[in-house]
């Protein structure tokens, strides 16, 4: 039966060529959309693993800082103490520009026993950082005063980087960048956090403990506030900061707002793409429906004859729908050939699973679409009376 259907379509390949081409191109478009959706959805499903809601980011662009390291630390430590002593503030950490949901990144390389990993997010943070963001330790510990003055540089990894470097083995105590000026010693591992927005993939990250010279360039303070902090407190905090650093431009941002804008940077292009794809699909569906309907109407004579020799209406409609499905199978086979190249050639560096899921979903989607478009014309054909149809000819 199936062989017979293939033969039927194959004989009319010239007539069906454009139709198949159209299904093929729609498959590729749908595949692109589903790849994006599956990728973002997989990322979205992972937990955030940190608490951004009560966190404010204070940016200060400052002109003149004290010259010597000592006076620099004194100056900023005093500011830090002033902030910590405010009853509305729970935790404080100075840090670089690459705070959660910001546009800036800072990346570095990491070496371990011949392994070279590039593109590692590099954060320089203070002891209060973990408390400010509510990071969760997986093994080891976070930085503390005890790390000051150690002859190695203490670092904390995220789980993603730890698994890349050590697999399932224990990471605490291992030394990275051996042979360099100042090797890094792993003192802890945190659970992966999605600090680049809900839809972003997890990236390898490494946290360094800020030393006194870091105050030369740090321009952001992350502050975790208590529920009592309101807009009036924010105004007071702002005044206090502007008074302490008369040479600085100060801006207070809430991480909740930064998260929304970071997410929309991912979502807006995707929504535009989905609107465009949705419109294309409606277009194609209408076209398919029209063409199938027309083709089936043209075959009234043939259908009437089949009815006359005893085919039931149901079997006629089933035949027509299966014909459409066979037609799309041919287009999908070619489409899958192209789509499979993406995971095989590792284009765009996405996990193969994302592509395969997307291929599966697109195939189901196209079959569904074709079926929906063929059902009504098929049902109409089933209602043809043999006597009427044959009489017309």
């Amino acid at each position: 039966m199936l062989k017979h259907l293939f033969k039927l379509i194959w004989n009319k390949k010239k007539q069906n060529f454009v139709l198949m081409l159209e299904i093929l191109v729609s498959f590729l478009v749908i595949f692109a959309v589903f790849t994006m959706v599956v990728y973002y959805y997989k990322n979205y499903r992972k937990p955030m693993n940190f608490d951004y809601e009560p966190v404010w980011a204070i940016q200060f662009r400052i002109e003149q800082r004290p010259q010597s390291n000592d006076s620099l630390s004194l100056y900023f430590e005093a500011l830090r103490n002033q902030l910590t002593s405010m009853p509305e503030i729970a935790a404080v950490s100075f840090t670089g520009h690459n705070i959660p949901f910001s546009m800036s990144t800072s990346q570095n390389n990491v070496n371990y026993e011949g392994m070279h990993i590039s593109g590692v997010n590099d954060y320089t943070v203070q002891d209060g950082y973990a408390a400010a963001l509510g990071l969760i330790m997986q093994e080891g510990r976070w930085f503390s005063r005890a790390d000051a003055g150690a002859n190695y540089r203490p670092v904390v990894l995220n789980n993603f980087l730890k698994e890349k470097l050590f697999g399932n083995a224990n990471a605490v105590g291992k030394v990275l960048d051996k042979g360099s000026e100042r090797p890094l010693k792993v003192i802890g591992v945190i659970h992966d956090i999605k600090e680049k927005g809900d839809y972003q993939a997890i990236e390898p990250s490494l946290y360094r403990r800020a030393d006194t010279s870091s105050y030369r360039w740090m321009e952001v303070i992350l502050v975790r506030v208590k529920p009592t902090a309101n807009i009036a407190f924010e105004g007071r905090l702002y005044k206090a900061l502007a008074a302490y650093m008369p040479n600085a431009t100060v801006e207070i941002e809430h991480l909740t707002n930064k998260r929304v804008s970071k997410n929309s940077m991912t979502l807006v292009p995707m929504i535009i793409m989905m609107i465009v794809a949705g419109f294309l699909v409606i277009n194609v569906a209408l076209g398919l429906f029209g063409v199938l309907w027309y083709n089936i109407n043209r075959r009234r004579g043939e259908i009437g004859l089949r009815r006359a020799v005893g085919a039931t209406g149901q079997s006629i409609s089933r035949q027509l729908v299966s014909e459409a499905l066979v037609l799309s199978t041919m287009a999908l086979l070619v489409g899958c050939f192209f789509a499979v190249q993406f995971p095989l050639l590792n284009v765009f560096d996405m996990p193969a699973g994302v592509y395969l899921t997307a291929i599966g979903l697109s195939v189901v989607f196209i079959y569904g679409l074709v079926m929906v478009c063929a059902l009504y014309p098929g049902k109409q054909a089933a209602a043809i009376y043999p006597a009427v149809a044959l009489h017309e000819d």
Binding site: V18, V25, E63, E234, A242, T249, V250, L286, G287
Partner: protein
Amino acid sequence: MLKNYFKIAIAVLKRRKFFTFISLFGISFTLTILIVLTAFLDHLISPQYPDTRRSRSLYINTALRSNSKTFYFSNGPLSYYFLNKYVSSLKTPEKVAISSIFSTTNTYVNNKKLEIDMKYTNAEFWDVQEFQFLEGRPYTAQEIANGDHVAVISEKTKQAYFGEASAVGKYIETDNVRYRVTGVVKSVPITILFSYGDLYLPYTLSKTERSNTGFDGSYTAIILARSAADLPKIQEEFQQTVARIPLKGMEFDKLDCYADSYLASFTRTLLGKDESSGVNKFILSISLFALFFMLLPTLNLININISRIMERSSEIGVRKAFGASSRTLVYQFIIENIILTLIGGILGIALSAIIIAILNSSQLLPQVYLAINFTVLAWALLACLLFGLFSGVYPAWRMSKLQVVTALKAQ
């Protein structure tokens, strides 16, 4: 003759209303999406208030600093010091506007938080950019040199801070500093990056730039030429200047900095490589996207057209039998198809006008007002004709191949 074709086309359209609907739907929506995107691109690229002299301006927004030994590189805006020293000193230009990329600051009025985007500028900025002053005037070179605490604010800031009353002469406070307002300008959308700001201040008030004598900073420059013909001369002079800049004692040994046309200044950061500005790459990728986007609706139209044509096989058979040549028939069919796409095009333009009106009034992008202008319309018309031609040629060719006998027998 054409009138006849038109009549036939309308008659055919009326006969199979469902097919007509599908065709028109496809054409008009495809064009709507293309027109809205073109209008947005046009808003980004062509001269806009207040940056109206783009045809005789050159822009410098970043410089690439690299070290061939350590592979260190850094790409970013420049310092006021650099731009003032090496760009303002150029001989050929008429004027050079230097301004910082806006930075956000807060101000708290009546327990309400306002976010204000500050931009530091030199005095030429107000001459190069054609701002519309609703009140007052820009600050002068003298006031800048004196370090006076003066500011020009946007209409939006005025509304939020002072309400309806006049703002000139009043004081606005942020970062614990009070600035006297000298003028109020019509607000600029954030998409006009070189000009956007809520609060414009003299560069001498910038707390971060006063002592900066390095190359890194947050400033960009607009070079205004006396005429468009001077642009290549300026670019050449600037390249010579850049080549002579001493790099001794810096952590890099190569400096790439270009004065580009408006579009090129952006494509260079996105797509540029070495000398090439990336404009060609940008145009190529945009055209490829548009073609690919039109591919599906076109295929769909071809499909429907084939069905339509086969339905008319008896008509074609009769005309052929009475001596009409294949070519006449192909012409007729292509013209019919172009008429159809033009109707779809008119619908598309109407639809996009509605969508653009909705976008403008919703202010999804603050202060951005899109418009369908002649450029956009010309592109839409071209797209229509291409669309009609693409989708008409193949079915017409198929039809012309029909044998008279088969054509007549089919029905």
